[in-house]
């Protein structure tokens, strides 16, 4: 045994009763994932087949418009396309032809389904198959759903990665696949840590470009870096790969536990493990303790949003000294979230799904010191005197592994410190 985190003395949250809510949700749909995925996969293009709403969502979520010509676009369905389905397939072919002629740098094209394309049953799998034949092998065409009737916010990334798994070549090689789109710099840090442990056959999903090799098979084990990859998890199991369940690598403790799970699988001895992790662990601990000063003893309330809520609550509770009041997450998957629930000290209400007005009532009643929520809710809650951290920043900012542990604590402490600094009551 190289390392195991200490379970909470009063027990964890894995068996705690879950408040299941079904009401109005206040959360993005899976299309949002395109904003970070297109930056990660430099030769991929994401073509949403949807409505003006979908185009507008992408633009609004991108916020500060990342101008230049982005590698995503929306094929907006018009009245004519809704009339006959055959036409829509032809139209799509024409749009793709034009797009690929204009952008010869594109090597992977994702056709992304939306609510309208799903409601009219526009078969994008068929379209992807057909277009792969027309444009292959230089361009690979895949499809996934980012629709709001099927996916919640970060589940778009999950659907995208899951769509890639069935077409991966088969291998018998013993290897580790790390799953989840991480910024390149963070991915490199992780590879360096694993390399230090002597684990060299490491591949990442997604790969940075289509040409990078990745295959999968019965001797593959995989670790997830993001808690929202349930479909990808299932797709990899179908390819007979084996999951290494672990807490997610947020914070010093999460990172160490995540690495230890992999180290145990690959038979890394305790000395090597200590040699590789001791220094960055100490650094991370120091950074977190400094960045979390403003958070100690404060309460935190999570609205369900990024699907990262449970592991983040574990980090804030155990490493930053916060008291979670409610931890809401869009979906809870025991296989993925169990290890973090085990470590999250008992106490908070765990909730799944949402009924936004009721949940806001609970938040107002609890008056938490910090509320983690979506962008639509942040300013209204601030105006009511509640301090907020908007969740989308957690997926846009590098937060994983040791060197980002301090930054992660900083994301939460900044709004708290800011409220303390501002001397004037806001008049609005």
């Amino acid at each position: 045994m190289t390392y195991a985190p200490t379970p909470p003395t009063g027990g964890g949250c894995r068996t705690a009763p879950v408040l299941k809510e079904r009401g109005q949700r206040e959360v993005f749909c899976g299309l949002t994932g395109i904003i970070w995925l297109h930056r990660k996969m430099q030769d991929a293009f994401f073509l949403v087949v949807g409505s003006r709403t979908c185009a507008h969502l992408l633009q609004s979520a991108a916020g500060v418009m990342i101008f230049a010509e982005p590698r995503f676009a929306t094929a907006i369905l018009e009245e004519g396309d809704l009339a006959g389905l055959k036409d829509a397939q032809d139209e799509l072919d024409a749009q793709v032809d034009r797009l690929l002629a204009r952008r010869p740098d594109i090597k992977q094209l994702f056709l992304v389904g939306s609510c309208p394309s799903e409601v009219i049953k526009l078969d994008l799998a068929k379209a992807a198959e057909r277009l792969s034949i027309t444009h292959g092998p230089s361009v690979r065409v895949l499809n996934f759903s980012g629709s709001g009737i099927e996916t919640t916010f970060t589940e778009g990334e999950d659907a995208c990665l899951a769509s890639m798994v069935p077409v991966l070549p088969e291998t018998d090689a013993r290897q580790l696949v790390v799953v989840g789109a991480l910024p390149d710099v963070v991915e490199d840090q992780m590879l360096a840590l694993l390399g230090g442990l002597g684990i060299d056959t490491v591949r990442c999903l997604p790969t940075r470009t289509a040409a990078d090799e990745l295959s999968v098979g019965p001797n593959t084990v995989f670790a997830l870096t993001q808690p929202f990859l349930g479909e990808t998890h299932a797709a990899l199991l179908r390819r007979h790969a084996r999951h290494l369940p672990a807490p997610f690598p947020y914070g010093e403790e999460g990172t160490t536990a995540w690495l230890a799970t992999i180290a145990a699988e690959f038979g890394v001895d305790a000395d090597t493990f200590a040699k590789v992790t001791d220094a960055p662990r100490a650094r991370a601990r120091a950074a977190v303790s400094q960045a979390s000063e403003a958070l100690r003893g404060k309460s935190v309330f999570f609205m369900p949003d990024s699907q990262m809520e449970i592991p983040l609550a574990r980090f804030l509770a155990r490493e930053c000294g916060m008291q979670p009041i409610e931890v809401g997450q869009p979906y809870i998957h025991d296989a993925l979230h169990g290890p973090d629930l085990d470590l999250l000290p008992a106490g908070p209400q765990i909730s799944e799904g949402q009924d936004v007005d009721k949940q806001l009532d609970r938040a107002r009643a609890a008056r938490p010191d910090l509320t983690v929520c979506g962008l639509g809710l942040a300013n209204p809650l601030e105006a009511e005197g509640l301090t907020t951290k908007w969740a989308i920043e957690l997926v846009f900012t590098p937060v994983h592994f040791y060197e980002q542990a301090g930054d992660l604590a900083g994301l939460f402490s900044r709004p708290v410190r800011r409220r303390n600094m501002l001397g004037l009551e806001a008049a609005e």
């Binding site: 949002t32 030769d43 185009a55 507008h56 969502l57």
Partner: protein, 518 residues
Amino acid sequence: MKLSVWTYEGPPHVGAMRVATGMKGLHYVLHAPQGDTYADLLFTMIERRNHRPPVSYTTFQARDLGADTAHLFKDACQDAVDRFKPQAIIVGASCTAELIQDDPAGLAETMGFDIPVIPLELPSYQRKENFGCDETFFQIVRHLAKPMERTARVTCNLIGPTGLGFRHRDDIEELTGLLSDMGIDVNVCAPMGATPADIARMGAAHFNVLMYPETAESAARWMERELDQPYTKIVPIGAGATRDFIAEVAAITGKSALIDESRLRQPWYAASVDSTYLTGKRVFLFGDGTHVKAAARIARDEMGFEVCGMGCFNREMARDIRKTAKDYGVEALITDDYLEVEEAIERLQPEMILGTQMERHIGKRLGIPCAVISAPVHVQDFPARYSPQMGFEGANVIFDTWVHPLVMGLEEHLLHMFREDFEFHDDAGASHHGGQAKPRVVEGDQSPTPAASPLEFSDQKNADDNVIWLDDAERELKKIPFFVRGKARRNTENFATERGLAEISVDTLYEAKAHFAR
């Protein structure tokens, strides 16, 4: 199917949200999937609103389809009425709900609420955001406003301002003051700030001030017909238009058009010698029809610019803009495809763009200064300070805004005199912009085929050009400050082409300069 990267307008239900969010005491029940709740952030983040928009979304999911989405809708209506106690509700569908045909209007009507239920039919696959505003406001007015006795004093309604509107907040204040100077009170301002009860008393006003035809023209026409209220046709953006607007209001009301203009500084600022350098600057205009039309007049008649192109993204205003463009001797560009706009700007090489946030980005890419004159809005379009576009203060604000991106008058001369000096090198830009004004390389995307940096662009030869620049001439061209270099290149090439010259020498360059001297 139409490929779209960035859009100038959202879907029509976002227009309905802008109306609902501008108002008070009204609630919008929207049949829509969860992802459509993104629209809340437009109001809470871009406009920094301190309340959630008054919208309940049904957020149906795939598993509800076929089963019972209608029930979800009715529950959402009931919850909204119970929780928010609105004076009236508007009900409708987003693009997805339109396809599942639950008929929100019919469902809501059967529920027996004792408040008005106003159904909206917004065709998501044909129309866009501005239509959504206009139609929603029209339906609200049509359902609630009634003919009634006029107020004793001369009053008007201000109509058109909405949530998320370009400077609507400050335009209301400016016009209210201007009208008050004329002895006219505002009866109701709507949608912004009005409750359904206020809408019901709009009939008491003597006339309507149509601030933004984009969002309230249908309502204005209806009230003219049904409530016998004339409405103003002139949008008071710019000094000249403001004076004309005052005359128009005077003609409607019989009030005097003589009002104190001492706050209006723009005409003198434009006439003062430091502004001489603005003469004949070639500007390209793009935005919503109303703001573009107003900006064209300001640009030519009040700033002394040359309008080299104009267009709008809202087809509803296409006729108007085509006609205006004709008066200005240019071709109108009616499109909602920003790539077409970019192409037009590249071709015309204006010295300044007066556009939207989209054109600001295009300008950044091409190294052309840009001032923003119209929606779609950005967080920057909601400044903390008072910053109207309408009325006298609006004219002052516009003067400052348009001059700001340009290199200042005296400075332009200095750049000519000291162009070899290190401080005034080509990339320096206006000194009051700090490092920011340096022509930028494409930000964000690291696409393998990066777009031309601004300098590459202005120095680039047109691919289809047969004229060759000799090395000497090319070097001489580089000595010309960057902000006029594009024009110099274009003029010289035109000059050479007209004369059938195959090559451009230093002499050709200076002959062309003499030819085009003004």
